[in-house]
Symmetry: C4
Subunit: 255 residues, 4 copies
């Protein structure tokens, strides 16, 4: 089986902006992009299947199985047209990352993509009170406009570069002449992080001129905040000799 | 070497039902499907070889070596024709799972398969007194008939989806328009589980209208029950300061 | 780069017997086959290169580097002609084992191989005073002649089958109609084992009617015996509170 | 995506000497070769991309991302022409090493390479006060000239052979009739080692008749020396009950 795209619908979008949010550190990209899909009412138009994705099916709310895949959504919005790339998994092997990103770029090639934004997180290893959003670009002409919405640039953040689809999309689109940026939120690396996801969406909404309701992410951020407090208290309790187990409800938030 | 099928016999089956039982959690699928092959008197008609199976030979009761392979059996039964898929191993790598399942589907394609049932287990992490049988389907129209034989549906069971051949057969057959279901028995995950295998066969025999003698699986289930008791007692003995080692005979049951 | 054979010399051998001794448990096959090459004066005629062998060069006694490879030797002997397969490594990945064994069989195909013997060890996990030699065959007609030279047959030895080239050569040659046997010496699994290697050569010399001087292997076996004694004594010494470190000289014997 | 070369500039070099310094033990090859590129003023003329390199982009000092790649530089120098092979990563899988080295050799094939030097380190596991430089060659005719510049030869150094691009370049160029040597500096294996890098460059400058300023590497060697002293002192301090953490500045030196 080869990596392949199943088109659900032919679309004819003028110069769309592609936003990628596959799973990664803190699931920031996934949270942000799925929220955008919901809020902007984007519609699925293609699925990418690959033997480099995990060999498994997931079960949906109708008890129906779905082969693990990457999904492409689109929406024609006021000021910009969008394509969104989401999914539950990335490639399980290194070579597969190249195959899958190449397939994404070939699938959207006919739509003459104007700009790519990939969204990720980078782990600081400790709780971050007010996370910064860092950027990296495959074309330096993008830096100024990103700085205007307070995206930070620091060549050592993240020091090891950007791994996986969020990085490769910049690397491989550069060779096709598409300008692309990656926005990365600081995050502990231990839990799903709606705070950073929300901050990145605020920057994107300014930059790309769309309005978006962030209430749902704010609610999740508060829940996470409560959870972090609870964990802290339990830890202190444990250190004092008590040892309550985290409940199933709590663990739901762990990536 | 490519993944390939060696046909031992050409068969001409009308609209068979395919039942898959490759090794997995609790070896439930393997136990159930091998039991069906024995009881219904199915005959081997094809072998699938693949470089994605382990690079080894197994030794049979005649001291003859056999390259690790997947075997296809068939039987024309009163109310239904069957193809069974069994073997001692699954793919050793992720991409190989796709290759092997694709090869299985291509091999049976000429027989115009009517329906696929894959059998698996999902690990609860602790001994289960009366295991439930959960189902997942690649077509929601199958749910009602499965509920009639008391198959449970719960989108969170198993939460991580279905991994390996039992999952991929649903995912890849969906794209060929074949309706398929996976039946999964709850099991500890620590030992071979004839209890769940037996329960799944009872449901299949009602659903697919065949009679089957389950005595052998019941006997094995009782042995396992005895073994579980012994392990429990030994554990208690050990906690009281004695430390008998599990005998070779006991370990035979461990997957 | 593909797996490929570099012929050093064209040979025209009548119905040779192929003996394989690639590295494995206790290096029994390697020791035995390299000894045969030396004693029978076999000559190298081909080298197999593969990207599935480790990506490295080894340094020989002339300080010259050699790409890791598998080597084929041949000799025309009184009662039988021989091809020997040796090397310093096996495949680094599962799929590669199939590629390499396929390449070996294709390289020797023109010589119309009469019979294949692969040599291995199987680990018992503890020191074995008088190791048995077990056999496995890809054609049951070979069993009687092997029993005549006291090769044991037991379908549960080794229980997990035969892994790597020694196993696959039986599996893949079967499909070409070549009869093949694997001889396996019991061994601890912790050290290089010239004792088992020697025992297997005694059986092969009877079976295939060649005379061979085993003095060198006997000498190494005595060294190993001495080493085992020393380790035992050191262990006892350590348990009594003294803790001498194994010397570099001792470690030389460890696989 | 296949392994491929992007030519930035067509070059027409007469019988160049190729020097490879991809990352490895102590980053000796990388340090030495990058220093040569700077000091001799070599110019980049080609980039090699491969799905066997890590699936990631690195961020440069302009905050621009660059797909991980291997870079080829060239310079026409007084007495010799040079091609340099550098990069931030080697292959992530075994088969990929073969692909990438094959690609390097094919890219430079048109330039009729005269000689190859690969640079590496081998780990001794402890701090080395005055490291020796060992050599290995794919053609014994090279040994004498290397001994003249005090390169040591010892078939057991390194015992396990040479792994990765530095080894494979010797192995695969041998088959193309190109003479090649690997120079390896003794190093602890724990830190980046400019001392060994410097020693190797001294030998190469004599051998290949070029003048080179080594001040920068000497400065770095002194910094490392200071660092090693500090670590030693801290260790002693820790053993005396104090436990200062290594500062970010210190860690910068760790590979």
């Amino acid at each position: 089986m080869e990596t392949q795209t199943k088109k659900i619908k032919e679309i004819d979008l003028e110069k769309p902006i592609l936003i990628e949010g596959l799973p990664g550190v803190g699931h920031i990209g996934k949270l942000a992009t799925e929220h955008l899909i919901d809020e902007l009412g984007a519609e699925k138009y293609a699925e990418i299947y690959s033997p480099h994705l995990p060999p498994q099916v997931l079960i949906d709310e109708d008890n129906k199985t779905n082969l693990v895949r990457i999904e492409l959504y689109y929406v024609e919005h006021e000021n910009n047209n969008f394509i969104f790339v989401v999914g539950d998994h990335q490639s399980t092997d290194n070579v597969g990352h190249f195959e899958i990103v190449k397939e994404i770029l070939e699938t959207v090639e006919e739509n003459d993509v104007e700009r790519i934004f990939t969204i990720g997180g980078f782990a600081t290893g400790e709780m971050v009170d007010s996370p910064e959003i860092y950027g990296a670009v495959n074309d330096v002409s993008l830096i100024d406009e990103l700085k205007e919405v307070d995206v930070e640039f620091d060549e050592e953040k993240p020091e090891g570069g950007i791994v996986g689809a969020s990085g490769l999309l910049l690397g491989l689109s550069e060779r096709k002449g598409i300008k692309a940026a990656c926005l990365m939120g600081e995050t502990s690396g231990y839990i799903v992080d709606p705070v950073s996801a929300q901050l990145i969406l605020r920057k994107l909404s300014k930059l790309l001129e769309f309005e978006i309701d962030l209430q749902e992410l704010e609610d999740r951020a508060e829940e996470i905040e409560d959870l972090a407090q609870k964990i802290k208290q339990k830890k202190q309790a444990q250190q004092q000799g008590q040892a309550p187990q985290p409940s199933g409800e709590d663990l739901r938030y762990i990536g």
